[in-house]
């Protein structure tokens, strides 16, 4: 079976991280969401993969070339203009033969266990179109998929108006027939309408997914995703070429890649992952659920806690970064703090650009710094702050020469 991954969307809510990369290229627990999906697809027996690319497509193409996905045939299909999900699906129309069924996956979906095996098993049983459904982690995402006892989907309400509806939602993984393209054409490429038509016509069955599932929409959900994957880890791995100096303490599950250097006195409390070529300075404390990308530099005496740090980022000495996400090539000067809670412990709100303020529902949350952000030494960053890519924040001095 062929799989189609939709990876062309802009994912505006995920700004600043989605400004400079497609959503599925966001790294959690040391790997991108796309890598995670490709691995699961492969172990579910699928190796012909079409990735619909658009926004920042070069990032995907470069990464997959560099990355060794042994045994996967990956093809790219470009969606020239960002015109919605239905239109993205239409781009692969000529790759699917009449009568063929294909697996469709929304690129921002993350699961730890194999949702693709599960849906193929359901398909194996039903031999008809199937949609994975799941119960979302928060009430805000509730939609409503109505079922009968035979798992026929009888009705889909994507965004219920009533608060009394709280049930299974479409999990963003489908097995659909080639005739679905005709439904898309007849509905002006509206995914929602085409699915409703499919339900009313040929019919669609549901495959229930009960394990963890996440649709990474908001920046703080990167942290949730990171935790979800790390919680599924079963064993540590430390590369042979990694160097751990004397008196380095490792606790819990840690993944340390090639050529990492951890200086004396550092404490790593798993689950943590430290990407290839990264440097951890003396007496640093890397607390649980920290994911460091490749070639990161962490100065001495730094404390990191529950944070995702992407490749080539530097964190200056004596800083604290907690409950935060840092993009690539971020440069944090020494002695910076991400404050991660309000005095009253109320959930932290996040204001992304000019958009409205959204409550994260989390009482502990730090900052979101886009790629190439520079934070001068001595800054104290307010909880829930978003700093857009490339912004330079001057150092903060209490004593100057003037």
């Amino acid at each position: 079976m062929k799989a189609i991954i939709l990876a062309a969307g802009k994912g505006a809510h995920l700004s600043p991280f989605s400004d400079t990369r497609p959503q599925p290229m966001i790294g959690v627990a040391g790997r991108t969401i796309l890598d995670n999906s490709l691995d699961l697809l492969k172990s579910s027996g699928i190796n012909d993969i079409f990735v619909v690319v658009g926004h920042k497509r070069e990032k995907i193409i470069e990464a997959l070339q560099e990355h060794d996905h042994d045994g996967l045939n990956i093809h790219y299909v470009e969606q020239k203009q960002s015109r919605g999900i239905g239109n993205a699906v239409m781009q692969v129309k000529n790759k699917i033969s009449p009568g063929e069924y294909f697996l469709l996956l929304y690129g921002d979906i993350l699961t730890a266990d194999n949702i693709f095996s599960k849906i193929q098993q359901s398909f194996h049983a039903f031999k008809s179109p199937v949609a994975s459904i799941c119960l979302p982690p928060s009430n805000q995402q509730f939609g409503n998929v109505f079922l009968n006892a035979q798992m026929d989907i009888t009705k889909i309400i994507e965004k219920p108006k009533s608060n009394n509806l709280g049930n299974y939602v479409l999990a963003g993984v489908f097995i659909l027939p080639a005739s679905f393209f005709e439904l898309l054409e007849s509905t002006g490429a509206s995914m929602e309408k085409a699915l409703k038509k499919l339900v009313a016509g040929e019919g669609m069955r549901a495959s229930m997914w009960e394990d963890e599932w996440l649709d990474v929409v908001h920046p703080w959900e990167i942290l949730t995703a990171n935790k979800m994957i790390m919680d599924s880890w079963e064993q540590s791995s430390i590369a042979k070429t990694a160097t751990l100096e004397s008196n380095v303490t490792l606790q819990g599950i840690v993944k340390i890649e090639d050529e990492v250097l951890i200086k004396a006195g550092a404490v790593i409390e798993g689950p943590c992952s430290i990407g290839r070529g990264s440097y951890i300075g003396n007496n640093s404390l890397i607390r649980s659920y920290t994911s460091l990308g490749k070639n990161c530099e962490v100065g001495s005496g730094v404390e990191l806690k529950n944070c995702v740090v992407m490749d080539n980022t530097q964190i200056g000495r004596l800083s604290f970064i907690g409950d935060s996400v840092l993009g690539e090539n971020v440069d944090i000067g020494s002695g910076c703090m991400t404050v991660n809670r309000s005095v009253d412990w109320k959930p932290i709100s996040v204001r992304n650009g000019k958009g409205p303020t959204t409550s994260s529902g989390m009482s502990k949350l730090g900052a979101f710094l886009g790629d190439e952000v520079v934070v001068g030494a001595g800054n104290m960053i307010q909880p829930g702050t978003v700093v857009h890519s490339g912004k330079i924040i001057p150092a903060c001095y209490s004593v100057t020469h003037k």
């Binding site: 062929k2 172990s43 069924y101 095996s117 194996h124 049983a125 039903f126 119960l135 006892a149 035979q150």
Partner: protein
């Protein structure tokens, strides 16, 4: 788009090949064909139509063979005719080929083959492959070399497989762009367009890459590159698969499937032959000494029966747990013992019934499994018709039994003039609405129950509280929690709190309260009173209650609000919530839902 399946094994593989190709039928179903081998003669069968029709029409399963390839076709080149159906044989009949894909240069190839004297029987692109194989075999006398030579000539896309009389124990296959994978079993090998072709028999697959070919025999396989004929080391992909899944029909567990089947099983219960129920009602009417009998879940069903018979039929019928029956029951010739059992094989209940019969008492039962010991031994049996209950935890069978008991109580009440015809009709209407209401709750509220279960799954202790008929509901819901989630849950009447249990209330013990609808004024008030007692001691309360009860925000720490329903069916609906709460707690705790520890489906030992 076509499907290819092939099997080579030690014994007759005809059946396996049939299963394999039938599982690929979704890839095309215009026509179907197979090639099998009898000693070293090829047997070819093909026809238009679907796989099963084709097999029946041509009696294909009668052909015995230890090697075979099959094809189900979706026409691309050539019309849907028997002649255009795969497999195709070479001129001399020694090669049989199936193919998925499009040979883009088949016209020039066909023209030159025709000049050499090869005759074509079809309009398809595939036939050239069969003839090319023969042609190149004649030069090299080696099927593998013939394959490589052929693949070098054809352009376009393919996944193909062939068998030949020269090496009757080997399947040759190759792939470019169209999908193909190998399935590796012990003394048996498979090839298929995807793993649907063999997943029921092996989970070890080798996924071929473009430009590779493979040779399979029952005990070995080799994958090589078409380009240089060098062997390629391929990783074995272990396909994660749960062979039970197809039986579970998309549900993750039988328990959830059976919870979702309840609207149907309740409808079945309401459609039971009235005369059978009336006979049982007569039995109850004739005696003043009767008992309800059950154990485990069915004891709580029996307790529910006690309440509903008291309410609707004005009759006091004590429930007895089967294991305690001998110590409690006083049996004479007038005594009626009415038992409930899903399996009809429950040891304790059977013993109690035997004892009753030995003393000359009458027996009757509600049983799910037809032909079971209990169904055969009692004087009168009601077969509840809930269908097989596979999960060890009883859900649909118990709820259906409660519905049947409600119906019996109504009938007896009418007969004894405890309820009016009008009340009877109203109650019947409420029962008939029950399936749709449960369906609605499953479809609209599951998410809330899931979220709450997820949030509190780490709680170690629960008190399940209910008053009146909600007390057996609390007991049964608590038992579900114990059975499936292994969490301590204690069912208790609300009135017990102030007789000692309140001393237990602290932050380590949480309470679930089944709140009746407001129409049941006294029960409602007394239940609220219990809640206040807990809250006054800072205990945590999860309230399961019905809408339109006004704002209860301050009453509960957490609440599950249900739509307003008639009071008769309110407890049954709350039980469904209890089932789901236990189920989602168990999945959050990653329990083995369908086969929980320390429990068997029918307890047939004493």
């Amino acid at each position: 788009m076509c499907g290819i399946s092939g099997v080579v094994g030690l014994k007759n593989i005809s059946e396996l090949l049939f299963e394999g190709i039938r599982n690929l039928e979704y890839r095309g179903y215009d026509s179907c064909g197979v090639a099998l081998m009898n000693k070293s003669n090829l047997i070819i069968k093909k026809d238009i139509g679907g796989v099963e029709d084709f097999y029946r029409k041509h009696n294909v399963l009668r052909q015995k063979s230890n090697i075979g390839i099959a094809h189900t076709r979706w026409a691309t080149h050539g019309k849907v005719t028997q002649g255009n159906t795969h497999p195709f044989t070479s001129r001399d009949g020694n090669f049989a080929v199936v193919h998925n894909g499009i040979i883009s240069n088949y016209r020039p190839l066909r023209d030159s083959l025709m000049k050499e004297g090869y005759k074509f029987s079809s309009e398809t692109d595939t036939e050239v492959i069969a003839h090319l194989l023969e042609k190149f075999f004649k030069r090299s006398r080696n099927p593998e070399k013939a394959l490589v030579k052929t693949l070098g000539l054809i352009e376009g896309t393919f996944a193909l497989a062939f068998i030949c009389t020269y090496l009757p124990g080997q399947i040759f296959c190759a792939k470019r762009e169209s999908p193909l994978m190998l399935g590796l079993g012990d003394e048996i090998k498979f090839v298929g367009s995807d793993f649907n072709a063999f997943i029921d028999h092996t989970k070890n697959a080798v996924i071929l890459d473009d430009g590779e070919y493979a040779i399979l025999s029952r005990d070995s396989y080799v994958v090589k590159s078409i380009l240089n004929e060098e062997e390629v080391t391929k990783p074995i992909t272990k396909i994660e698969w749960d062979s039970e899944t197809s039986k579970k029909g998309g549900y993750p567990h039988y328990m959830l499937k059976e919870i979702y089947e309840q609207p149907q099983t309740i409808s079945n219960a309401l459609d039971l032959e009235p005369s059978g129920l009336d006979e049982v009602v007569d039995m109850f009417a004739k005696t003043d000494s009767s008992y309800f009998l059950g154990v485990g879940t069915t004891f709580y069903v029996a307790k529910y029966a006690q309440y509903i018979f008291s309410e609707l039929a004005g009759k006091f019928i004590p429930p007895i747990s089967s294991d305690e029956f001998l110590s409690l029951a006083n049996i004479d010739k007038k005594t009626l013992v009415f038992a409930m059992s899903q399996s009809g094989e429950t040891f304790d209940t059977l013993s109690a019934l035997k004892h009753t019969q030995a003393k000359g008492g009458k027996t009757a039962a509600i049983v799910n499994v037809m032909g079971s010991s209990m169904a055969r031994m009692v004087d009168k049996v009601i077969l509840q018709g809930s269908g097989p209950e596979i999960c060890v935890i009883s859900t649909k069978a118990a709820l259906s039994q409660m519905v049947i008991l409600t119906l019996l109580a109504m009938k007896l009440g009418l007969k004894r003039k405890v309820i009016t015809k009008k009340t009877y009709q109203e109650n019947l209407k409420s029962l008939k609405d029950l399936p749709a209401i449960i369906q609605g709750i499953l479809n609209e509220r599951s998410g809330f129950i899931h979220r709450i279960a997820n949030k509190y799954c780490k709680n170690k202790n629960w008190l399940y509280l209910g008053r009146g008929i909600y007390y057996p509901i609390a007991l049964e819901a608590a038992l579900k929690m114990k059975e499936v989630a292994y969490v301590h849950a204690e069912g208790m009447p609300g009135g017990f709190l102030k007789h000692g249990t309140l001393a237990m209330i602290d932050d380590e013990i949480s309470s679930i309260v089944f709140v009746p609808p407001k129409e049941n004024k006294e029960l409602y008030q007394s239940t609220l009173h219990s809640i206040e007692e807990i809250r006054a001691r800072s205990g945590f309360v999860l309230g399961i209650h019905f809408t339109e009860q006004g704002k209860n925000q301050d009453l509960f720490n957490e609440e599950l609000i249900l739509p307003n329903v008639p009071p008769l069916i309110a407890p049954l609906i709350q039980l469904v919530i209890g089932q789901l709460f236990a189920y989602f707690t168990a999945t959050s705790l990653k329990r083995n839902v369908d086969k929980p520890r320390s429990l068997a489906k029918s307890v047939t030992v004493g």
